[in-house]
Each structure stands twice: as C-alpha cells, then as structure tokens.
Amino acid sequence: MTSNERLALVRAGLSARHRREKRFRFYGIAAIVLALGFVAMLFAMILSRGLPAFTQATFSLDVHFDPAIVKVDKKPVRSSEQSPAEYAKEISAWERKVTMVNWNKVIEAAVRNAAPETTANSREILSIVETNARFELRDMFVADPALLGKTVPVRMLASANADNWLKGNIDRSLPDAQQQLRDPARALADQLMAEGKIRNAFAWHIFTNVDSRSAPASAGLAGAFVGSLYMILVVIVLAVPIGVMSAVYLEEFAPKNRFTDLIEVNINNLAAVPSIVFGLLGAAVFINYFRLPLSAPLAGGLVLTLMTLPTVIIATRSALRAVPPSLRQAALGLGASKTQTVFHHVLPVTYPGILTATIIGVAQALGETAPLLLIGMNAFVAQVPATPLDQSSALPVQIFLWQGNENRNFFEARTSAAIIVLLGLMLTLNAIAIFLRSKLEKRA
C-alpha cells in the first residue's frame, strides 16, 4: 500500500468519523435539552399552580364591638390580696366567657354593614368568612378590652370556598348544585370584591400560622417549618461529628485488615438502603424501645441521622483520601504526632468536602418523607413545637398531608405553595454551601 493509497483510505473514512462526532454531540445536547425541559416543565407547573396561593382573598371590614352582643364583665384587675394563681384562674374564667361570646354575630353585622342590600342570610354570609375570624376578634378583645363599643378596621380571611370562587379555581359556570357556596353568597363575594372590601392580599399567614382543618384558608407552614428545622439541627449535631470521626478513624488510624474492609463495604451498603427501611428501624428502636414520643422531631431527626451518616462518612473519607500524602509526610517529618498531623494539617484541607457532604446529606434529609410517616409524623398537629420533644409535622409531610386534603380546589394550590417553600429552603441551603465552600477553598 503506497502512502497515497493510505491517505485516500483515511480520507474516505474521515467524513464518516466527522459525522459520528457530530452525531454524538447532537445526542449530548439533546439529552441536556430534554433534561432541562423536564425540569423547566416541573418548575413551570409548580410555580403556576403555587404562586396564586401566596395571595388570598382578604376582607377589610369595619368591625363594631357591639356591647349588645359582646356581653362580658370588665377584665378582672388583680387586687392586692390576690395570689398570682387566683388571679390567673380569674383571668382564664373571664377569657372563657369572652370565647363564649357569639363573635359570628359581630362578623355578620360587619359584613352586612359593608353590603347593606345583600339578600344573603346569616349562614350564607358566614360561609364566605373563614371560621377562625371569630377567634381573631376574641384575641383582639382579650388583648384590649377597651375595644368594647368601638368600631375598628379589621382584616379577616375569606373562607377557602370564597377564595376558590373569587380566584376561579372552581368553574364559575357550574350550576348551583355543583357549587360549594350558595348563589347569594357568591353574589355577595363578587360585590365585596368589586367594591374593594375584599382584596387579594399577600398571605403572610402561610409562614406564620400552623396547619388548620377547621379554618383551611388560614392553614400555614409554621409548625412544619419549625419541626423540619429541629430535625435538621438534630441531624447536623449528630451526623457531622459522628460521621467525620468515623471517617477520620477509618481512613487515618484504623489498620487495613479484613474487619475494616467489612466495615467499609457495610457503610457503602447502608448508603444504598431505602429510607423507608430506616423508618421501620426508627419506629422499632426509638419509639418502641427507647419510648421516644410519637411525632417528635427528635425521633425524626434520629432516623434521618441514621440515613445521613453513610453519606457523610463516605464523602469525608474520599475527601481525606484526596489529600496528598506529602502533606502528612511533611507534618510527620517536622515531628508532629499522628493526631496532630490529622487535626492540624489534613482535616482542615478537607473542610470544603465535608461541608458539601453535610449540606447534601441535610438537604436529602430535609426532603425525606417516607421514614417520617412510620414514626407518626403525619399526624395533624396544630401547634408550633417548642422543643424537639414536642409533637410536630415536617415540611415534606405537610405537603403530603395537604395533597390528601379533601378540599381539592383549595389545597391543590396550597400544596404547590408548600413545595415552593421547601424548594426555596433547599436552594438557600445549597447556596450557603457553595458560598462557604468557595470561601474555605480560598483560605486553604
């Protein structure tokens, strides 16, 4: 074969090779576009569904604390001979009386005052105001009994059904039998909206209120948020030191033998164990054996710690392995002990790696739902947990619960709103991780 012939052979194959190259690149780009397309679709769907839930139909009404309806004695004043306990008892008796006041009548009067010519009856009027409004008025009155006889502007949430109607979440052309609100109530809501007495206001209560079933429009994420926060704290406090310590020992101190190999294989296996298995384990060990309270963030955090540990150990070990041996040799050569070498020279270099692993592990734990269902964290909890031992919900579980709520028209949007909050939290965590990592890397 002459060189010319060889050249011709290469040339003949060249265009095919170029085509193959191009094809491969095209496949690559197509894969990325497809993946991004799915992500974009997901985000577009969640955002388009969830964002409307951040504004909610809200009444701005002048509420008259009519002495004819609010018939209670003056708030007791502590006399000098009364003990604090007696006074507290008297106050709570007074508050009970205030609670028993027919606040719905006060609300009805306020709505009638705003729309005097309405044909809606009491029931229909109250059907467009959220049921917790009466407790809000009560709380206002308890805080300031001087309101009696006064007229003050009050913001009250519209009921979930009224919100659905005003936002068009429920088909407005459906006949009366298929509507949740009766015709006069719908007309009243439309009229108040047109007159500006109902406005779409930003729903701050999504962040400040706890979950609610009796007043679904006022349901919020505060309890679930704090519950998740406690669980993350437990995970960080337990998983990071335990995980880093095990990794350091296994990588730097432990002898290399069959036993440590076995441990390594098992840690790798643990990382692949489905989270639900950890949930079952947690229910058996923490709830049934250690008798931790059901639905407590501490129990949830412990389960999630078990789940996060392998991630932290594996990532820390690989970070330690990446540290050049010259660093260790230099430290040992200068007379540092093994422990000094590890803690003064090797470990600080791995901080960015450990940090990334921690954040990834925590983010994973934050979004975990299945194991929490098994330790009773899917209960309905209407309080913000004060300590990690109090019952609470968690953000992903709250999403699961809202997804299952029977008022589909209202909670579909609420569910997406909760997803947005959870995603926001995740993005924040990741942003912090990236920021810290770049800062630590610069220092190292």
Partner: protein, 346 residues
C-alpha cells in the same frame, strides 16, 4: 480545631442525654389516630378545643385507617401509646381481645354521628342509578349465569342491566385497612349477592363468592380518597367509593350515583333512607383519663351541640349528626365509664 470538636462532642452528649430525659417527661397532649374518614372531624374538634380550652394543648390527630389506629390503641397503656382511636366501624371482638391482652381494659366507645358511603363518577359522564346487585355483578369474580357460577363475563355496565349506561366497568374501592370497606362489603356486596340469583351455596362458598373480586376492573385503594379521585381523573370511566363528606367538598368534579333510587345527602342519610350509611366512632382508653389532661373535657366538647349536634360545626364539615337522644345516651355511657367487652361486640 480541637475546640470545635470538643463543642461538637458536648452537643452530641447533650442530645443523647435528652434521649433519656424524654422517657421521663410526661405527656400533656392528647394523641389520636385512626380512620381517615373520622380524621377531618376529629381535627376540627381538636382545633376548636384548643381555642376554647386554653388550659389544654390542641390534641394531635394521626391517620392510619381504622385497623391501624386500633392496633396502635391496643398496643398497651402508657405515654407512647395513643389515647383515642378513630374508627369508621365498630371495634371487633379480636381487637378487644388484643387490647385486653395488652392491658387496655377500659375501652370506652363514643359514637359521634353518621356517614354515608357514595358511588361517584366523573361529572362529565352519564348518570348512574345503581342497585347493590349491579355492583355485586360488576365486581364479583364469579357470578351466576343460568343458575351456574361462572367467571364474570360482564365488560360494560349495560350488559348487567339495560338501564345502566354503556360504559366500561371500572371500580375503585377502599382496601381492607379502611373501615369503609367493611360497610361496603356488608351493605352493598352482601345485599347485592342476595338478589343475584346465586345457586344454592354453602356458607363458606357464599363467603368466597362475596369476597373474591375481579382483579382486572377493580382497584383497591389503600390511601386517602384523594387517591381514589386521582384514579377517576386518570380513567374517567371509573366509579369510585367515597365518603359523603368528601363528595360534598368536590361536587364540581364528581357526580353521585343514586343507590336503590335514593340520592345520598345529609337528609336522606339522617332519615335512614339511604341504604349505605354507617355510624362513626372513636374509642377512648379509660386508663389514660386523668393521666393525660383534658380527655374527658375533649369528649364532652366533641359531643356538645356546637360540635356534633344538629347545625353544629361538624355538620357543616359533612358529618351527619345523630339525634339528640342518641348523643345524650352516648355521653351518659362515657361518663359512667361503660366499658366495651368482647361480649358486646360479638
């Protein structure tokens, strides 16, 4: 560096110590679990209870189905067992036995009202006027043709009865962890089997015929009604079994079938005209009363006129209130501490 690790170790030790402390801490919050049908009602009462009684904490309401709730309830007496089990059917003798074995001897029964079970389909589809026998013929693995048991041949509803629409048979029914399933079994399938011209069968054979369902057209839903609703949305031909209150909240997407000519509603169920209805219950662990604060007050509040009574909050949420005398009797039984024994539920 060592300082940080020292701090971390101390923090770890602190968490470990709180593990021990948790055991000693006593619970001051009522814990409820069980039927997902009763859950919305109990949650509403729990919230209102927390508002009306500031001295008690708002009870925690978990789900898990009637069976799951009663299993937790019967796990024993103590801090980390629940106080109240919600149930959409009556407790079974076996469950009472399990309770007694675990040391739960004071089981107090509280009936809160009634619920209807409805057959609903997509609002865009044809109306259904069904009889129990139609459902039996649609669902049973074996039906009678010419006096003999054969594998179910029906593909469409109008093959069962000419009055039914020309629509493929597809059903989503609650799985056996739901109390709803038992009522469905008793009031619909067992009733339907009686009218299905079955050949002479022994008791065991009849039991088998009424409990083995076709796998191709029947989906058993272990989750909530929203899961059933999702089935209906993905296959518009499906007929789903729902609680009346769930249907009521989703009237815009669902259409309800009449059963034996009666449209399910608050009125027809309360009057006893609608055939597929059932009482709803919760069970209170007598041993926990006065140990966990507020249980007696919670039960009394639950049964009060403003909650479970006629025109009360729960009626607005879809519970069908029991007559006032019935509620008064239930409350009296509770206050007397009338305990449910195996003999009561045999």
């Amino acid at each position: 560096m060592t300082r940080y690790f020292l701090a971390a170790t101390v923090a770890t030790a602190a968490v470990a110590a709180s593990l021990g402390a948790a055991q000693a801490q006593s619970r001051d919050i009522i814990q409820i679990a069980g039927s997902s049908t009763v859950l919305p009602f109990s949650s509403i009462v729990a919230e209102e209870f927390g508002q009306a009684f500031p001295e008690f904490k708002t009870p925690i309401v978990g789900s898990g189905g009637t069976g799951g709730g009663l299993r937790q309830f019967c796990a024993g007496v103590g801090e980390n067992t629940i106080d109240i089990a919600n149930a959409s059917r009556r407790i079974r003798a076996g469950e009472v036995e399990a309770c007694n074995t675990a040391g739960v001897n004071k089981i107090l029964e509280v009936q809160i009202g009634y619920d209807g079970i409805v057959f609903a389909s997509s609002a865009q589809r044809a109306d259904f006027a069904i009889e129990p026998v139609h459902v039996f013929k649609a669902i049973a693995a074996q039906v009678a043709v010419d006096g003999k048991l054969v594998d179910n041949p029906y593909k469409k509803w109008n093959e069962i009865d000419a009055s039914l629409p020309d629509q493929p048979i597809a059903l989503a029914i609650p799985a056996s962890n739901h109390g709803t399933r038992e009522v469905f079994q008793e009031r619909v399938i067992a009733e339907g089997a009686k009218a299905a011209d079955l050949p002479e069968l022994s008791k065991e054979e009849l039991e088998k015929v009424t409990t083995s369902f076709r796998q191709d057209v029947v989906v058993e839903i272990a989750g909530d009604y929203t899961e059933t609703l999702a089935r209906l949305q993905s296959n518009q031909d499906t007929i789903g079994v729902f609680g009346l209150s769930f249907y009521d909240q989703n009237r815009d997407t669902l259409k309800v079938a009449t059963v034996s000519g009666v449209t399910p509603s608050l009125e027809t169920v309360a009057a006893g005209e609608y055939p597929v209805s059932r009482p709803l219950f919760f069970y209170v662990k007598g041993e926990h009363i006065d140990v966990v604060p507020g249980i007696a007050e919670f039960v009394e509040f639950y049964l009060s006129d403003q909650m479970a009574g006629l025109g009360g909050t729960l009626e607005a949420a879809g519970l069908i209130p029991a007559p006032a005398e019935e509620i008064a009797e239930v409350l009296a039984n509770f206050q007397e501490g009338k305990v449910i024994t195996v003999d009561d539920v045999k």
